[in-house]
Symmetry: D3
Subunit: 282 residues, 6 copies
């Protein structure tokens, strides 16, 4: 008899055989409003057995591809620096083995850890960022490491005009002003996504999906729901479109199960992850 193994549904391959490695980064210490994203990866694994492995959208099946689920990192609450170091270290190993890291957050700050690992291998890294929030502040109450500053920190790694934001509908005026000179911010929806895909052809791309880009009607289970978001079908199409590019890393974050009483946000997050894995697997 073997000890109880629990993976995201259909992601039961061994590490060696896998092209994609999923892992959880259960960290939300800098969340300034409503916490709880730390529970996302665990709950998604548990609830994923309510989702089929087969996608009628892409006519593909998780059972036909090789994905490894490395479980959750043990991250230190209260120390963003240590948490990000642990994430970077784990992601670096995956990258070193020529696999694609696919991280489940956690708050959005965790993206910084994985991007750090990926950008070392792919110095010309570009980032596609789906989100309701700009996340472009330079600091939050004096702190440089925060869910509200993560894309500013990522910009420090990639440089100007490497980050393409979509769906942004919340932020301080200063963020939108700063953005004009440094990142490509597309407000509200996926307008211009096709153009971005044109531009990014052939480049190494990191895809960061903050699930609150979805409308709160579809995805209430998040810390800072922002009315006016995209639909599930729009996000699904955007993911499939982007997956034509050379995706070298990705993440899905900001599900907060505490606020998902009906479970439909979790089910939706699971389905997004399924479609993302099926789309980027080549």
């Amino acid at each position: 008899m073997n000890r109880n193994i629990e993976t995201f549904i259909g992601c039961e391959s061994e590490y060696e055989d896998s092209k994609i490695v999923i892992f959880g980064a259960p960290f939300d210490s800098t969340t300034s409003f409503r916490p709880g994203t730390r529970f996302a990866s665990k709950v998604m694994r548990s609830e994923s057995f309510g989702v089929e492995t087969y996608s009628p959208y892409q006519d593909k099946d998780l059972e036909d591809i090789n994905v490894f689920d490395g479980g959750d990192l043990e991250l230190c609450f209260g120390s963003p620096k240590k948490a990000l170091d642990a994430i970077e270290k784990f992601a670096a190993e995956i990258v070193k083995d020529n696999k694609i890291p696919c991280m489940i957050g956690g708050e959005h700050l965790v993206t910084l850890g994985t991007v750090k690992a990926v950008v070392k291998k792919f110095p010309d890294l570009h980032v596609i960022h789906f989100d309701a929030h700009a996340d472009l502040r330079d600091d939050y109450l004096g702190e440089k490491l925060s869910h509200a500053t993560v894309m500013h920190r990522v910009w420090e790694l990639t440089g100007d005009n490497k980050i393409f934001q979509f769906g942004i509908r919340s932020g301080e005026r200063e963020e939108f002003t700063w953005a004009k000179d440094h990142v490509i911010t597309n407000k509200f929806d996926f307008t211009n996504l096709n153009h971005a895909i044109e531009v990014l052809k052939g480049k190494p791309v990191y895809l960061s999906i903050d699930l609150d880009i979805l409308d709160p009607s579809v995805f209430p289970g998040t810390g800072t729901p922002e009315a006016g978001g995209v639909t599930f079908k729009e996000l699904l199409k955007a993911i499939i479109d982007v997956s034509k590019l050379n995706i070298v890393g990705c993440d899905v974050n900001e599900l907060s199960p505490i606020y998902d009483q009906s479970g439909s946000s979790t089910a939706t997050a699971c389905k997004i992850l399924r479609e993302l894995l099926l789309a980027i697997y080549k």
Copy 2:
């Protein structure tokens, strides 16, 4: 003084005077993921007093038509066979009296009981099936009677090409493959519904509505919410369109009040039932 009578709002006619008979089938023993649909009919009756009897969509009023509410069957949990027999027996009596049975589930398996009663009277029965899930497996962990197999069982009663599915967006690959030869499966939405209505003109039709065809944003209160569903207005239009046909039986199922913390799914289910009754009443 009379003992407390509780019916779905506006459905207070006597049995003899009624053309439609609603009744609850509180059964969910084969639900493999999240149970709770057993409570739907009771909660819908209770919450229906928050809904008006008048429909501004159809300009009709429940108070102007005769519907009888027979209450809930007492079904044996743990024995799908016995539960289905009890449903069939009850529905057969309604059918015998030339009334239309309109069942409130319960899990989708309960449909089999009523269809069995109806198909005996209408051997050429056709089925219109609104659902997120194909429900076409031949068995589930070896069991033939399951919410996941119900349409396969119905097919055994009706034969090939008698079942018209709409909204299907979840299932195993095998279900979709099997469907090609046996049922008419329309994925994702109501595309082709008009064509189906053309084909079905003059035939006896059973309409089975699994409410999870609705998008989880509209209807989170169900066992297996599937992102990417239809809107309330789309479902409403589809019901009114289908009601032009010769509807000889129908059901509404898969509301799970446990997961409807806000009550909006229940309110929506009540409204769907109101519109369905008003539409099929002639």
Copy 3:
């Protein structure tokens, strides 16, 4: 050190400096179905710190305008008459000082108190009414003062064809019949809003927003959710369009936090209020 001050985010101006005065009317005694709107203003203030002061939709910021938050009135539960008198008295003071009252309900009946104050100053007052429900009954179980009669009472103050309703999708048949001769009722959505705006140019207008005009997918946290409503973007556009008129008073009501387990309805209500304030401020 000062005692703890709590206002809606960005509404921290002094009374004298302000053009708009927001205040809460925590009253829901006549709610016939599910109560709880009494908590709306308090919870909105508390949760508003999860919302930015800047609107990317209008490119305006609450920090650049002067709004005073007068807190909540202490209203007597069980006595609609006394509650309305208190509201009218408070609103009258605001109107007297040439400021715009912007009330946060509470059930919809509270609108009557503020309209009474406003119509005394603006006898030619017209009312734009966004709602799922007609609210046009003459009485409710014999009572004249009720959330279900409020627009009938308002009509007694304004006279025929002064009330323009939008989004209405629920009511008794009698309400719709009565409406034809007395108010302009637009069912289901904002069709004809532009025409109404044309007609109302130059007139003093009171804007009453019952948040249940929104679809329950967007706004489940209300007493009587009605499927088939408008989207957030549609409501936002309607508010901005209407704000071109001479708005002399307004309210936002029917958020019931008890039924907003995820908090997304409250967040949406806060955003609607932010956009409303930014739109009508001149």
Copy 4:
């Protein structure tokens, strides 16, 4: 076939055969803090089927006694006067027929309606009052009819030293001061209950049970939970002890199902009602 009848479990006798009549008074318009008791009677009927009819405490069975369930009154929200009149009228009919009215609230104010009916027949009526709150204010924000004043109003009907309170642990200082001259207030628990029973032997007694006398650990589902209450076993014993007296009317109130997410408060309320009915039935 008969229309759906729903009664509290085991209370299915005809009116003529019954010695006790239960009915619901779904009213909570004067509740000043958290409303929702209007739903108690309906939810208790619905959930009572999770409770056995047999009591191992008293070795009696509801199936062996005759209790009639008259359903819920339709009361006018927003008008305490009208609501109390309707309750009094209904209770008077029961009293006239020499049956015991057993009302399910609703907020505690509803007690006044039934007491009015009972005291007309039994002018020497005494009242045993189990509660966490004194409910002895003369008015609440100027209103005479309020859940916070109900026992003051009852005192106006019965006169001094006819009301025996137990479990009281919350109130204004003035209430406790006033009480000293007019009612017998026993704080915190059932100390002195035996003495009261001695005193009350042979008198007509009305028993009013505000379920918030129970500790919130046992009974969280109420509008104003007050730590430091009695246990279920203590309340059960007190009810059985009191039932030796000549109980001519009673009520059970202040369950607010909205705040009973686990359902255990409702289950406890059902059990209290079962034990009360079994105890007072002679």
Copy 5:
């Protein structure tokens, strides 16, 4: 890298090294009232990381003993017979290897599967049964296999006077009558437990703990909460006392996480399991 392993906290030993084997039996198809116990084992594993491995009550630590966690069985909903067969088969293997099976339910019916396996090896098996409910019906709506009949079925395996019940406070009169001749039923609490322990010295004992023996204040998260139960400390003492006997099998069941919104019932169940494992380990 290894695939994600998830066990109950501190139960990470290999099968060969372990004296106790825990496993989940996620089945609740016959639950007649409120379902959901199927999720207990999964949620307990997940939430157990909020519990320490060390017990200050027993001064023992799970890290010092060898327990294997075999995960959850995959059981067929809708077929009690098949589910019980699968449980029996799995438990039989554990028993064969001279280990103690410790099952996490699921509804109480699952006990029958493990008892069947254990009684084959220990024909003189005695059963200590902690519960609020007698579970002694011969059938439930005609079905022999039900959560309400499980102890009647167990009695068929053990014979008269082998089952010692404690805490029983709910059942039909017939169950209590039948019990007098066949099982030793102690109502309400643990009175007489010491006597039972005397009697059972040296015998093989199966301990079945239905967690609803706890008062709903301590343990609201269960399908049928019954007021008047024992405290945590009383249950803890009873477990430690009983563990002096020769425990050859045990189970903990009837946690229903759906009804445990605060999580405190789950935390309590985890602690009961920890203390049970530490107590019976020798």
Copy 6:
């Protein structure tokens, strides 16, 4: 008109007139299990209007004493060091003005900030610590500042045998071992409290109340509920007993409103705070 002021009920004095200053420390970044205590102070202020200002236990009234409510500090999530510095600075000002700081947490770590301020003025400070958890680890995953280490950090400020713990029922074995030489740990309940009070007479005492010392039945709304705690009455008596000492600072922490769906934990926390204020005020 004045801007909206919101204080804990009955705590409306000006700073200068007050002997006690309450303030909120909304911080929970190091919480390792379930977060949410950041919302406690805000929710307690809001819900306190459901609590009376008068205590029948002490026959005292908040309206008769002078307490100032300074509102909530704005603390930086993700930086325990900065948060503690801000707390210390604020508390130091209160201490300097010869007032008693009474902090509302937040996670238990916030105690360290206030103790730092207090111990500077009272070098012989002793600490009475009510809690379920020992909180005595030296570090948590390498971090020195954590809710799990706070009493170890406090010990570094006070020295050996200055901390008196009561109610402790959870921790690692190492914590209990270490405690023997450094602090006075009383397990499970308030046994020996009287002795401690004897010893502490005349000394400056800081009282830190982690509300999870209460049994989860009374207080489910906390991050890590631990079965087997004290009752409300026991805690109330302990507070009143301790208040005879020279209390120079105190705090109440670990309410997590997210997990208090019924609101009864919040109501209990408010009542504890009321009784604490009334008890220590001299």
